[in-house]
């Protein structure tokens, strides 16, 4: 099997998706920062007519960071990790290369057009599922092509055992496929109204409480299979590889995998506490959310223990810092979520800023940190060059860490203040505050969040610059580094 002396991994697809990750990351976070600023300074809503309003931009933010940035990151890392742990090069199959490239272009053009469509207000108005049905079809084709890539590579592998990361990517593929199809079932209003409606505009096939249930089964599991499962897959590869330490307990990784699969799918109804869905479903959502701490912390602790005896690496390798911080934030948000899912806490937390606070300690601290760390690790291998600047990386790390802390602390205070004010009653049972009272009180926290957005975005630009310089002028490497990523 070692006869192919010239055989090398083919990183061309990883590179392409890395570029998209950076592009969509920048766009999505730019829009995130703009909408954060709009909440603090509402005049900013009126700069670009209808195209610049919060309501147009918010879905652009969410869809671009989820389906643009994160999904590109998943693809970029799959085409890297997949080859390496299966010990087979993409270059060995013309067919898989073709499928990969086809998928790349379809995805790139589709994602750009979909974003533009949201800007023009073409939306099916379901959260994280706003794309209208023609785009849904493109998504399905891209996803199937990705599935062919994944299964195809597995089919021609040399390594018989599937490394744990591969399981996670497989689960991501299957999970999203199932969720996306079921939640996006829709009929163009043209067909539902005997020609009065619009062919492009569709309504969901579900209605009322059923629609809410399907929507949050989807919404929550999109977090599971988009923001958790593939990111865990990444850290299970990159942290051991970067540190030179095998996973602390492979058995624990298997167990957490099945635990996560089993528990996550039932937790979605915590988004619907105190609503019209059956009581037992709400209770189930709460209970499973609390149980979810176990498999989540199982993976996170497994990662931290992987560093056992090697903690000195934390101080001298900024990449390890990124990944350890990422798993720490993963632990924070997976303890915070279950707390919010307890009925009585949810009565205060629901509809408040604490929720976006929770979302962003997860995505900014965990998802983005891990994806950036992955790209930092892959870059010297893909471009055969040393990382351009370690100093810049350190500076970026601290700037963004402070930004995340500012984001979630300001939203914790804002959210709990809001929740308490909404429900405060005087001795006669009258509400003590009107809505605008809460808005006035929250202004400073919104301003802090906008500032944290600017800081995080600047950090992301430092990252993009560092990668760009690595590509173009990093010191050339004569051979691929084995473990620790070389940096100047």
């Amino acid at each position: 099997m070692q006869s192919n002396a010239a055989l090398e991994y083919d990183y061309s697809l990883s590179k392409k998706f890395t570029f998209l990750t950076i592009l969509f990351g920048f766009l999505g976070m730019l829009v995130g920062t703009i909408i954060a600023a709009q909440m603090a300074f509402p005049e900013l809503n009126y700069l670009l007519g209808e195209y610049g309003t919060f309501s147009r931009l918010r879905p652009i933010h969410t869809n671009t960071v989820v389906f643009g940035f994160t999904v590109s990151g998943i693809f970029a890392t799959w085409y890297y990790i997949g080859q390496r742990v299966l010990k087979v090069s993409m270059a060995e199959s013309k067919f898989l290369m073709f499928i990969g490239n086809l998928m790349f272009w379809l995805y790139f053009v589709g994602a750009l057009l979909a974003t533009i469509s949201l800007l023009f207000g073409v939306s099916s108005s379901k959260e994280y599922a706003q794309y209208e049905w023609p785009f849904d079809l493109v998504v399905v084709v891209v996803w199937v092509l990705w599935g062919v890539s994944v299964m195809g590579l597995i089919g021609i592998r040399r390594e018989k055992a599937l490394y744990i990361s591969v399981w996670y990517y497989l689960a991501c593929f299957l999970g999203i496929a199932m969720l996306y199809l079921f939640n996006n079932m829709a009929i163009p209003t043209y067909f539902a109204t005997e020609g009065l409606g619009n062919i492009l505009h569709s309504v969901s096939m579900y209605s009322g409480t059923n629609d809410a249930l399907v929507q949050w089964w989807y919404g929550h599991n999109a977090v599971a299979f988009g923001f958790t499962v593939p990111i865990v897959g990444m850290i299970y590869y990159f942290l051991p590889k970067e540190s030179g330490q095998a996973i602390y307990s492979y058995k624990l990784s298997l167990l957490s995998f099945w635990g996560l699969m089993f528990v996550y799918l039932w937790a979605g109804s915590h988004h619907l506490l105190w609503s019209t869905v059956p009581d037992w479903m709400q209770t189930m959502g709460s209970a499973f959310s609390v149980v979810l701490i176990l498999p989540s912390w199982g993976s996170a602790i497994n990662m931290l223990l992987t560093m056992k005896g090697e903690w000195n690496q934390l101080t001298d390798n900024p990449l390890i810092k990124f990944m350890v911080l990422a798993s720490t934030f993963y632990m924070l948000s997976t303890i915070e979520g279950p707390i919010q899912a307890i009925r009585s806490v949810n009565a205060i937390a629901h509809f408040t800023d604490w929720i976006p606070g929770h979302v962003h300690d997860g995505v900014l601290g965990w998802v983005v940190f891990m994806i950036m760390a992955a790209i930092f690790h892959m870059a010297p291998r893909m471009f055969r060059r040393e990382i351009y600047s370690k100093k810049l990386m350190e500076a970026q790390f601290w700037l963004q860490t402070i930004a995340v802390v500012l984001y979630f602390t300001s939203m914790w205070i804002a959210g709990i203040t809001q929740g308490m004010m909404w429900r405060a009653v005087d001795e006669y049972g009258n509400l003590m505050y009107s809505f605008i009272d809460t808005v006035t009180v929250l202004h400073p926290y919104y301003a802090i969040r906008a500032l944290s957005g600017v800081m995080y975005l600047v950090g992301f630009l430092m990252f993009a610059y560092n990668i760009y310089k690595t590509m173009t002028s990093g010191r050339q490497l004569s051979e691929e580094p084995q473990f620790r990523t070389p940096m100047a």
Binding site: K87, K160, K251
Partner: protein, 74 residues
């Protein structure tokens, strides 16, 4: 106790949860037992990430006959 469909769904979900919990615990036992009996060594798979050159020896080799493509340019 009225047994309409909603209630039935509730009980079915409860029963399934219990079943899956049992499966999960069984899985833990299975993992440890098969290692103890020497049938499997799960921890060796951790090496797949560390020794991952295309020329590295696989931790578990997939025989060429099982590979679904022809080995070219030998």
């Amino acid at each position: 106790m009225d047994m309409d469909l909603r209630n039935l769904q509730g009980y079915a979900s409860f029963a399934m949860s219990i079943f899956l919990v049992v499966m999960l615990y069984w899985y833990i036992i299975h993992l440890y037992r098969s290692e103890k009996k020497g049938e499997r060594d799960y921890e060796k798979y951790g090496k797949i990430a560390l020794d991952d050159e295309v020329t590295s020896t696989p931790v578990e080799d997939k025989p060429a006959s099982e590979r679904e493509y022809k080995e070219e340019n030998k």
